[in-house]
């Protein structure tokens, strides 16, 4: 099915196979441009050169090969867990990538990018005036109401000089090609533009799937843009090695994946409001080593949610006191809170004259014609040609009084609604704009072996650097399924596409890996935020608890699968296993009347919080909040394991083999962590979670199966559960007997599955973590760990009766709690900031 050699033919090579020419010709013939609408591929004079180059090379791939590569790209996106969340949905959606890139030629791009750079500079200067001197308002260059109507105009930051010296560090514009063939700006993104991280991910995927095609096309690399952006942010801080955080609303945000991607790619910390604290006029991050100063916040939280003390009081996403830190020049926030005011459509019409005034030059890029109805002439113009314009809110999303999130078209309204719209515009024109209806250009999209035209919107990104604005060559392209491109958002079933800026000559290859001579050597990567430590600890605990439960299920399933040896003591051991599964929340008491179903329920029941499936799902959920810290391989193991465990199994045989497979996957995750994770604090917390949980579970196993009157079958089960059959046999050469089994499972410090071994590892980890006390007194986790360790070191197997083991279990639970209290002070048990209430 795949081409015999599976290779791409080099483009422009002399002996292009005939089928390729035929395919390319067929594509062109079938490609039906939409009447009256410009197209990226085929212009007035036929196909454009860059696209012809692309399709010639593309056609040299066999149809089967193309499908295979598309499949590989989709698989990669899925495996990497590239997701977004539509507003109002609780589940992540996978990313739909259009398999063909949008191509833009070099000279076309030059024009576009200088237009964007000019616009970014203009907007920066407008912000500086609005929040500073206020001359533009005083002189009437901008009507005061066009600003006052935006709830992003933050009076609280008026007069504050932005720390770091600028309002905009990252700017984005949504652009489309208008009927005249020029690029038009459709809207400005000055608050916290999203999409750059998705653009990066799209590029990684497509350039891998079509490696040699990508190379041969001389596509401009995006890495230098991110490098410039990162350096710009670094340079804005007032010390040499600044600590930079990406402030995310959390894993429930629509674009959380992107926040994690950017944090990982740029080497920043991913933080939530709860992770930060204000003191002494600075912002600090809570880490396992106490509060550490944070110099720069790249925010993905909207301005109004940033500080419950001065802005939206109901917000839980921000940091109380943050605005006051800005007043004291204590932290750089990018973009500066309040920058979002320039997203108001009401302002669009004033930009050409502002550009002449502030930059002394004409605005290079046109924007979609917009009339703000707060001015009489404009209002009358809009009302007189209501069917030729789209009505939009002047400041934010949606039209006041109308439910839809997007523009309102008068021609599509009922008579009553139309009258309502006209009355509203006449009454409070300040709330509305009219925008010209334009049909944007289309670009080729792959559709089952053919190419078809679809409208698109391109988001272009500009980053501030000391040398001026740097534009990302490429961007984030969204392709509409319907024909009005302005309704494109990822929520609306649209696809994304990579954007290739195609150069005529070879481009320099660039990655974010720094050159050796510019980087100071550092062996431990940054600080570990308490929240990340908390999540790592619980990831370790969930996975280990899943493992213990799987071992119980496997033992039970094996007994059921191979009946016959049904002695009464074996039955007795099976009952003990079932009882444990009930205690652990994996099955209900009720289910025990049907022993045959217990193993299946403990393995897969969604509704049981202690079932193996629920435990690995909890692990996956925890891992979601650690995306920037996990390797793609580790993430993939967890994802696959969760998906597979949810598949229904048929019989006892299926249960046993599902349990075994999952145990292997858990082992491979543990192996990845062991071999690939940096031995910094993060690894220690994952390990500590695992060790603490294993110590607790092994103690429980020992209490159930190594009690004073334990039978041979009980001891046999225990050896299986703690995976020590082979060790025991090689050591003792006799049937299991109580004291040696107890010693092996609980006390033997050389057995990596014994309780003593776990406690020893815990003690070592705790000792190597930073201490907070200056008094030199030993901290509680360490005190508890050392106490348990010495108890285990001096105990004798014969004395380990049920009561002693129960006491040991309690000590271990206390130790786990003490670790939580010490290192995760704002964990689930901690008190959260509450708002003072009441009409005082």
């Amino acid at each position: 099915m795949v081409d015999s050699n599976g290779q791409e033919a080099s483009p422009g090579g002399g002996n292009r196979p005939r089928p390729a020419q035929r395919r390319a010709a067929q594509w062109v013939r079938d490609y039906a441009r939409l009447p009256g609408i410009p197209d990226e591929y085929i212009g007035e004079d036929g196909p454009r050169a860059v696209w012809t180059r692309f399709f010639d090379a593309f056609a040299s791939l066999s149809p089967a090969d193309i499908e295979r590569r598309f499949g590989a790209a989709d698989r990669h996106l899925k495996e990497a867990g590239v997701t977004y969340r539509a507003p109002g949905e609780s589940a992540d959606r996978h990313w739909a990538l259009s398999h063909l890139p949008l191509l833009i030629g070099e000279s076309d791009w030059q024009q576009l990018s200088s237009g964007i750079a000019q616009r970014a500079q203009l907007l920066e200067m407008v912000l500086r005036d609005l929040y500073g001197e206020g001359k533009l308002i005083a002189d009437g260059a901008i009507p005061a109401a066009a600003i006052a109507g935006s709830n992003e105009y933050l009076r609280q930051v008026c007069g504050i000089r932005p720390p770091g010296g600028r309002y905009l560090s990252l700017y984005a514009a949504d652009v489309g090609r208008g009927p005249d063939g020029r690029w038009w700006v459709l809207g400005d993104r000055t608050q916290a533009p999203s999409g750059a991280g998705y653009a990066l991910e799209n590029r990684l995927v497509l350039s891998r799937a079509f490696a040699s095609l990508y190379k041969s096309m001389n596509v401009e690399r995006v890495a230098p843009f991110f490098e410039a952006f990162r350096d710009g942010l670094r340079g804005s801080a007032d010390r040499d090695e600044p600590r930079i955080g990406v402030l995310t609303p959390g894993s429930f945000s629509e674009t959380y994946f992107e926040h994690a991607t950017l944090a990982r790619y740029l080497g920043f910390l991913l933080v939530e409001g709860d992770d930060l604290a204000v003191s002494g006029g600075r912002v600090h991050i809570r880490t396992v080593a106490g509060l550490k100063r944070l110099d720069v916040l790249l925010r993905r939280v909207d301005s109004n949610s940033l500080d419950p003390l001065e802005l939206d009081a109901s917000s839980h996403l921000g940091v109380p006191g943050l605005i006051d830190v800005l007043r004291k020049d204590g932290v750089v926030v990018a973009n500066m809170p309040g920058s979002g005011v320039l997203e108001a459509r009401a302002l669009l019409g004033f930009l050409p004259s502002l550009c002449r005034r502030l930059l002394g030059e004409n605005l290079m890029m046109p924007h979609i014609a917009t009339w703000w109805c707060g001015q009489k002439a404009a209002r009358e113009a809009v009302l007189s040609r209501l069917d030729d314009v789209a009505i939009e809110g002047a400041y934010g999303r949606g039209v006041p009084g109308f439910e839809s999130d997007g523009p309102v078209l008068a021609s599509e309204l009922s008579r009553a609604d139309r009258e309502r719209l006209v009355a509203a515009i006449e009454e409070r024109g300040i709330d509305f704009v009219g925008q010209e209806l334009v049909r944007l250009s289309t670009t080729p999209v792959w559709d089952q072996g053919r190419i078809v035209p679809r409208p698109f919107v391109l988001r272009v990104f500009a980053a501030a650097t000391p040398q001026g604005w740097t534009i990302m060559p490429g961007g984030f392209c969204r392709i509409a399924e319907q024909l009005d491109a302005r309704a494109v958002s990822m929520g609306g079933g649209a696809r994304a596409a990579d954007v290739w800026v195609v150069s005529d000559k070879a481009v320099s290859t660039h990655t974010l890996l720094p050159g050796t001579d510019t980087v100071r050597i550092r062996r431990i990567a940054g600080v570990l935020p308490s929240r990340a430590a908390d999540n790592l600890f619980w990831l370790g605990r969930y996975l280990e608890r899943a493992e213990a439960t799987l071992r119980l299920v496997r033992t039970l399933g094996t007994q059921q699968r191979d009946p016959g040896k049904g002695s009464s003591s074996l039955q007795h051991a099976a009952e003990r296993i079932q009882r444990m599964l009930v205690t652990w929340g994996a099955v209900t008491q009720l289910s025990r009347s049907q022993p045959a179903k217990v193993a299946a329920e403990a393995l897969q029941a969604e509704e049981r919080f202690g079932s193996c499936l629920s435990l690995v799902r909890s692990a996956q959920r925890t891992a979601t909040s650690l995306r920037e810290r996990l390797s793609p391989d580790a993430w993939q193991v967890i994802t696959e394991m969760t998906a597979r465990l949810a598949e229904e199994v048929e019989d006892d045989d299926g249960i046993v083999s599902a349990a075994e497979l999952t145990l292997q996957e858990l082992a491979s995750f543990a192996g990845l962590a062991q071999e690939n994770m940096n031995r910094a604090a993060g690894w220690r917390f994952l390990e500590m979670g695992r060790r603490a949980e294993r110590a607790i579970n092994t103690t429980r196993f020992a209490r159930q199966f190594a009690y004073d009157e334990a039978t041979d079958e009980d001891l046999d089960v225990l050896l299986t559960l703690v995976d020590c059959q082979i060790t025991y046999r090689s050591r003792y050469l006799v049937a299991p007997s109580l004291a040696p089994v107890r010693d092996l499972a609980v006390l033997d410090p050389y057995n990596p599955r014994s309780v003593a071994f776990q406690v020893q590892a815990l003690t070592e980890h705790i000792a190597s973590l930073p201490a907070l006390r200056e008094s030199g007194l030993i901290e509680r986790p360490q005190r508890l760990a050392v106490a348990v360790q010495s108890m285990l070191a001096t105990a004798e197997a014969g004395a380990l009766d049920t009561k002693t083991l129960f006491a040991l279990e309690q000590d271990l639970l206390n130790l786990a709690d003490a670790i939580g209290l010490r290192y995760f002070p704002h964990g689930p048990n901690a008190s959260r900031p509450e708002k003072l209430t009441g009409l005082a």
Partner: protein, 292 residues
């Protein structure tokens, strides 16, 4: 008229609070017919940080941090204010309301006194068509802005029920409007929402009322707590005029202004964030005494 005002706010917590960061807006302003003679705030427990500034709306704002565990917080504010304010008569001539609306939009300022800052929805005051339609009944085309506003104020006073138990600070305006009851703050918010819906600049005023009425006059609603009312911009010539919809009064010498903003969120006298006890008991005591 000179007043001595004592405004004591107390919070009692069920369990110790380890950290508090508060914002106080307790200093009565000078200007708009009144003059601050003295002001002092005492805070218990002791503060770790305390600094002050004037905010965007010109309100003297104190920020403080308490980082010792405490079960009680007590903020004791004393002020002496001289008030000399004259309101126009209820039927005095004024420009047509639609002219005032257009005049407001032509003002080239975003400052705290600019009417433009008060024609849009704000955090606690949405602009909605039912409330706008309610207000519009008082403003037929061409009617004087003052006469229209007096009529609206009078209607709110007679059609809404004063009920201190009916609302809490988080009760949304829509609910207040539908159920037609609330306290001073709610009535002010309703009147502001209606005026803004029509495009008229309306601000929220927090302050105090004299506690003991002059002989022969009735005791006014809201006198033992902080009070709230509305300030309406009536054109460049008349400027800002105070309307108290809770008492159906134009604001004169019985009212002492604490702060002016877009709604309660801008002027809340005591505001803050604590770490610790979710259960708290708030007490507010206000005493306004006529000195001379």
């Amino acid at each position: 008229m000179i007043y001595d005002i004592r405004h004591v706010t107390t919070y009692g917590y069920e369990s110790p609070v380890s950290f508090a960061r508060c914002t106080l807006r307790l200093e009565p302003r000078s200007g708009a017919g009144q003059r601050l003679l003295s002001h002092h705030v005492e805070i218990r427990p002791r503060t770790a940080e305390r600094h002050s500034r004037r905010d965007f709306f010109g309100i003297f704002t104190e920020s403080l941090v308490i980082d010792t565990p405490h079960r009680n917080l007590r903020i004791d504010s004393r002020s002496r204010v001289a008030v000399d304010r004259r309101a126009p008569g209820r039927t005095a001539p004024s420009p047509a309301w639609d002219e005032v609306r257009d005049e407001a939009l032509a003002v080239t300022s975003l400052g705290p006194a600019s009417p433009v800052s008060y024609v849009f929805a704000s955090a606690l005051v949405p602009v909605s068509s039912p409330v706008t339609a309610y207000a519009a009944l008082s403003f037929p085309p061409g009617v004087g802005v003052l006469v229209g506003a007096v009529d609206l104020m009078h209607r709110i006073r007679s059609e809404f029920k004063y009920d201190p138990k009916a609302t809490v600070i988080s009760t949304p305006l829509r609910e207040v409007f539908e159920k037609r009851h609330g306290v001073c703050q709610d009535f002010a918010h309703v009147m502001i929402a209606g005026l803004r819906g029509l495009g008229l600049p309306a601000a929220y005023v927090s302050g105090y009322l004299r506690t003991i009425p002059p002989p022969g006059r009735e005791r006014l609603q809201g006198a033992d707590a902080t009070h709230a009312w509305v300030s309406l911009w009536c054109g460049d010539e008349l400027g800002w005029i105070g309307f108290d919809p809770t008492n159906d009064l134009l604001v004169e010498n019985d009212h002492i202004i604490l702060g002016v903003g877009r709604d309660f969120a801008d002027v809340s006298p005591v505001d803050g964030i604590i770490v610790g006890s979710p259960k708290q008991k708030l007490g507010v005591a206000v005493d306004v005494v006529v000195v001379e």
